[in-house]
């Protein structure tokens, strides 16, 4: 705490020292610029006087000055007619609620008629803003300092430039430093600056990705402008450099969008890959099991209102259990009578999907249900001027990889996984070895359905939670499974991710819908070449 305060004091001292060096330029910077003096000078002051008072307060920085300047900027400073006392005022039923600027304490109320508001003009407001920004440069919070720098850069002149250079000398936060450097360089681009400095500034700015810089360089590079040819050439070069970086970051962003779309595809397909791959069962109700997972989030948030984060996290296991349970019911009730008849299974599970949809409509109405986002999933991670990533997409990508890893572990490292793989490879032989294949079937179907529920939790954060949620993903997820190759989790991962990336790469050229159509057609053609997907199942089981 005390360290911070020391730093703040140091910063202020630094500004004062710098300004003191400039003192020769400013005869009005007289002694006695403490708060009481300023308050005495304020009543009846002309605009010029007020400008001087503001400058004096900025230089001496007495306690309470920031509040006073802020109130001046907002037009909340008034002089009492009777005793020429200055107050910070705010609206009150009785007229004004008064605050003494010296102590910062409330000083009763007063009728509006008894006061004269201290008037401001645009010029004064501008210098007030700069002055406030100067105060904020001393703040321990980097964000406040950054805002102050931005504010000062808006109306940069010789004096603010000097202050910013001083700030640069001891600024610790990299972001604020970059902001100051860029801002100063931007100021150096002006026409009245000597050419060498302008060239240096352009050189410095060629590493920047801020859109402001890009636009400013664009005006310099414009062949119609009367810029110095050397400067113009430098500006063109700098822009080419920036363009290269921008397209690089744009490619990274597209890739990331592709990954995030791919994650959604993988999440929705991976459960399907298990039931389809291991049991050869087409589960058309898979989308509706995802829908159940999404509704689980909604119900969880009703149970735990006000805790969107905790309820969403709790919804993950809950959705796994609910969808898994429903899946086992489906398997025991319907699917097990239809083994060996995949087309019939497809029809029966489609019937189940209709029933589940209507059930959701009856319980939760046909309208979409609102689902809150946990705080750690909202917002944007601004990496630089050209690249930003939304947290919800990032979380979904990580979540998908985690689910994938967990599933892989279950299949490779647990007894159940071993039995599942054995049954998938050769049912008869597995049974001969004493594996209860019926139990394994039920568990496999339950596992695949549970994963669908977990996928639904993730989808609830990206799309509308309604009865039709499942339908919109079912075609896509089948495509992923077929593309990746049945019975291979890695195939599903790679298939889903590549479909997502291809979709996003095509989107800017072809538009979202046409891009999707192209991908679907490409897939149909791909199936002709490799009818069993990228990673076909090998061995005798594949022919069954």
């Amino acid at each position: 705490m005390s360290l911070i305060r020391l730093r703040t004091a140091g910063t202020t001292l630094g500004i004062c020292l710098i300004l003191a060096c400039l003192g020769g330029l400013r005869p009005a910077a007289a002694a006695g610029s403490d708060l009481p003096t300023a308050l005495n000078r304020l009543p009846g002051a002309s605009f010029e006087d007020k400008a001087n008072i503001i400058r004096d307060l900025t230089q001496s920085h007495p306690k309470g000055a920031r509040e006073l300047l802020q109130a001046l900027l907002e037009g909340h400073v008034a002089v009492r007619d009777s005793d020429k006392h200055v107050f910070i005022v705010s609206d009150d039923p009785a007229g004004y609620a008064l605050t003494d600027p010296l102590t910062g304490r409330a000083a009763g109320t007063g009728a509006t008629d008894d006061f004269d508001t201290v008037s401001m003009n645009n010029h004064l407001r501008k210098s007030l803003r700069a002055a406030l920004a100067q105060f904020d440069l001393g703040s321990p919070e980097a964000a406040v300092r950054a805002a102050a720098v931005t504010e000062m850069l808006r109306s940069i002149d010789e004096s603010t430039a000097t202050i910013l250079k001083g700030q640069l000398a001891h600024e610790s936060d990299a972001g604020v430093r970059r902001l100051i450097k860029e801002g100063l360089a931007m100021a150096d681009l002006d026409d009245d600056v000597p050419a060498p400095r302008r060239l240096a500034a352009i050189h410095m700015l060629s590493g920047s990705l801020s859109p402001d810089v890009y636009n400013r360089l664009g005006t310099l590079a414009d062949p119609g402008s009367d810029t110095d040819p050397a400067v113009r050439r430098a500006a063109v070069r700098a822009m080419a450099h920036i363009d290269a970086w921008r397209s690089f970051y744009h490619a990274i962003e597209t890739l990331f969008f592709g990954f995030s779309l791919g994650s959604v595809l993988v999440l929705s397909a991976i459960g399907l890959a298990i039931t389809f791959g291991v049991m050869g069962v087409i589960n058309m109700a898979h989308g509706e099991l995802m829908m159940l997972g999404a509704y689980t989030v909604y119900v969880m948030q009703l149970i735990l209102p006000g805790h969107p984060g905790a309820s969403t996290l709790l919804a993950v296991p809950a959705a796994f259990l609910i969808s898994g349970g429903v899946g086992i019911l489906i398997e025991r009730g319907v699917v097990r009578f239809l083994y060996g008849r995949p087309l019939e299974t497809l029809l029966a599970t489609f019937g189940i999907s209709l029933i589940l949809q209507q059930l959701a409509r009856d319980v939760f109405t046909a309208n979409n249900r609102p689902v809150e986002s946990p705080p750690w999933m909202s917002g944007l991670w601004q990496i630089n001027g050209a690249l930003s990533i939304t947290y919800n997409r990032l979380v979904i990508v990580i979540f998908t990889l985690a689910v994938f890893a967990a599933l892989l572990m279950i299949l490779k490292r647990t007894r159940l996984g071993l039995e599942v793989r054995a049954v998938a490879q050769n049912r008869a032989m597995a049974r001969a070895m004493g594996i209860r294949s019926q139990w394994v079937d039920a568990m496999t179907f339950g596992l695949g359905s549970g994963i669908a529920g977990v996928a639904g939790v993730a989808l609830s954060q990206l799309t509308n939670v309604g009865p039709n949620l499942g339908q919109s993903y079912i075609v896509d997820s089948f495509m992923v499974v077929v593309f990746g190759g049945v019975g291979n989790l890695w195939g599903t991962l790679i298939g889903g991710m590549s479909l997502g990336i291809v979709n996003k790469i095509l989107e800017p050229y072809a538009g979202a819908v046409l891009g999707k159509i192209i991908v679907l057609i490409a897939l149909i053609l791909f199936i002709q070449r490799r009818p069993r997907g990228i990673f076909p199942q090998k061995g005798r089981a594949a022919e069954a």
Partner: protein, 370 residues
């Protein structure tokens, strides 16, 4: 095979055609001859509804031909149906002429609305009925030919084929939803005025369309029946039961499957073209994958591999749908869902199979079928 004439038309087939003819005549009589006040009178609306169902029945028959006889489960047959419908819709749009809202003599309303200046090349010729009728068969047929050639050649079978047919109709749906495809975007075509000069708002036109649909249904049944009882039909059934064996014996399995698929698609296209003037609208939602799956359940309900079963199934399910969606709308999806489950679990041969089972048990001669 003893060979009197029409040997391919077995007893069940004759009964079916007879029932179809009698029902059609009955419907027309009940509409025209029975006075409107009578409780036996069938409104023109109901006749239109039945005409619509018969289009569905044709579509179901097309699906049965490839699913029931060839073992290809297409989850995208509505695509062919809708394409046929769109071809007919294009003709009907051109027929409107300058009677549209914007009064443009050549461009349909939606093109004027989208600020198009000229007719896209693929709209030329659709002002002629014979051209549109040709396209009704050609467009679905060529699509099925290309798609089937690619799929069967690389031996995509079973659920894989089902899924890519579903992707096909899904892709078409997305494409037709786009305005710049030139097919009216998500509004599709509507506000038709007349067909071959006959006013589409007229009752007589509707009754005629009903009659035409019934005749086409009977004809398609005859053709399908002829195909399945021909030598090629027996090869197709052999492929369904043991594809590898049929191939090893020396049949070109791919060709047989392909031609069955193409014929089925053409049939679906014709059904769609009859559907559009009766319903008065065609839009991309007809491409929805769900629609195609519903067709499959009609066939399953009626009984696969009988052709007339598909017709019975389509009529039964759609009558039930009309009843439920007006009387108990919230129960319809439960009923349809339960139908899917129960039919696959307990009625693998459909209602017709059940009827046959019943008949055999009591060993009595058959009464009516429908």
């Amino acid at each position: 095979m003893r060979a009197p004439r029409l040997a391919w038309l077995d007893r069940q087939g004759r009964v079916f055609l007879l029932v179809l003819a009698v029902m059609t005549a009955l419907v027309l009589v009940l509409n025209i001859a029975v006075p409107a006040a009578s409780s036996l009178h069938l409104s023109t609306y109901t006749v239109g509804l039945l005409g619509k169902y018969m289009c569905y029945a044709m579509l179901a028959m097309a699906v049965d031909l490839i699913w029931g006889y060839c073992g290809i489960l297409s989850l995208g047959h509505s695509a062919f149906f809708t394409l046929g419908g769109y071809a007919m819709g294009m003709y009907l749009m051109r027929e409107i002429g300058s009677r549209g809202v914007y009064g443009d003599p050549v461009l349909p309303d939606f093109m004027v609305f989208l600020n198009w200046k000229t007719l896209p090349w693929y709209w030329h010729g659709f002002n002629l009925f014979w051209f549109a009728a040709l396209m009704v068969m050609l467009v679905p047929g060529v699509l099925a030919l290309v798609f089937g050639w690619l799929a069967f050649r690389s031996r995509v079978t079973g659920v894989y084929l089902s899924i890519i047919t579903q992707a096909l109709t899904y892709a078409l749906m997305l494409a037709f939803f786009r305005n710049d495809m030139g097919f009216g975007g998500n509004n599709g075509f509507t506000d038709f005025k007349d067909i071959l000069g006959f006013d589409l708002t007229h009752e007589t036109t509707h009754l005629t369309l009903f009659l035409v649909t019934a005749v086409m249904l009977g004809l398609s049944y005859g053709v399908c029946r002829y195909i399945v009882s021909s030598r090629a039909g027996r090869v197709i059934r052999a492929i369904r039961d043991a594809e590898s064996r049929a191939r090893f014996i020396g049949f070109r399995v791919e060709s047989y499957k392909l031609w069955a698929f193409v014929f089925s698609a053409v049939l679906a296209g014709i059904a769609g073209s009859l559907y559009v003037p009766q319903v008065g609208i065609i839009n991309p939602s007809e491409f929805q994958p769900v629609n195609s799956i519903e067709v499959v359940i009609w066939v399953a309900v009626g009984g696969r591999g009988t052709l007339y079963g598909a017709v019975v199934g389509a009529l039964l399910v759609n009558l039930a749908k009309t009843f439920f969606t007006s009387a108990l709308p919230e129960l319809w999806l439960y009923a349809l869902g339960a139908l899917f489950v129960l039919v696959t679990l307990f009625l693998p041969r459909g209602v017709m199979g059940l009827a046959g089972h019943f008949k055999r048990r009591h060993s009595r001669p058959a009464a009516g079928v429908a």
